[in-house]
Symmetry: C2
Subunit: 153 residues, 2 copies
Amino acid sequence: MSKTKPKNSANSGLRPTSRALPIALLRTREHIMEPIRPMLAEIGLTEQKWRVLRILTEIGPLEQTAIARHACLLLPSLTRILSRMEADGLIRRAQDPDDKRRSIVQISKQGSALIEAHQPFSNQVYRDLEKKYGREKLDLLLDMLEEIQEIKF
Amino acid sequence: MSKTKPKNSANSGLRPTSRALPIALLRTREHIMEPIRPMLAEIGLTEQKWRVLRILTEIGPLEQTAIARHACLLLPSLTRILSRMEADGLIRRAQDPDDKRRSIVQISKQGSALIEAHQPFSNQVYRDLEKKYGREKLDLLLDMLEEIQEIKF
DNA sequence: TATTGTTATACTCTATAACTATA
DNA sequence: TATAGTTATAGAGTATAACAATA
């Protein structure tokens, strides 16, 4: 019934790390990613590249500043990542004719094929999570996470 | 009432990224970290070093394998991080007399002082979050995150 | 034989600033 | 003047393997 308190020494008034949101989010993410990482390693994609492909699949052709925002990447990082992905044939870049500073990034057939080939695995991981955690609770959690992201600090 | 669906092209049966838990967790964490990062930069700590200090404060002297697990770091990364932190006087390492393979890491006075000096800021960020998001909801969210971390995949 | 931690290596990401081209 | 993206650079983290010391 009663939770065991950490028997610590110098913890004067600081929340335990399990109740510190940034750390809790990180640990949860690491835990969730554990079964997913071997799959990404197998198809030779970093998590970052994977996110870029997912976002391009979801939204469609997109300028780089927007991709960086959606994928939680800095623009200089994205530049390098996209160069490599373009060389690997996963995406294409084209100058925006209306604003020549912009370049529009689009997923390639090969990139789409990679996403599609992975989809059964991804869905299976998700179903497993639904089964072990509960569909409604998972849905609620995703709602709650979205709501936090809308807060202005 | 009805949620607006993303008007995308090739999104055949894949969850939107906002409903993919690893991405949602990452975005939420980035959003939360935004006001915290300038503070860390000011005191010259990376997020990783900050986590190590927090964990040592919470649990007390700890061997490196355990720190790595709690802080979501690989052991080789931790080795380098601790070397630097030891040189900077933030932690101390001592060989475990009972098992000479192990080394026990302990936070130093200077490290504790850094944590303490930061505490008002940390608490303020947390209160701000409670105020804008709701204390009960935040507590529920932390409970839910802890529960996910206990799932066996 | 297995475990703790270190070292080595190659790759990747982060963070910041300076820069180019365009608006 | 401001913005989109690139390049440069220094620092840091990731991932894997090999290793030494100890159990």
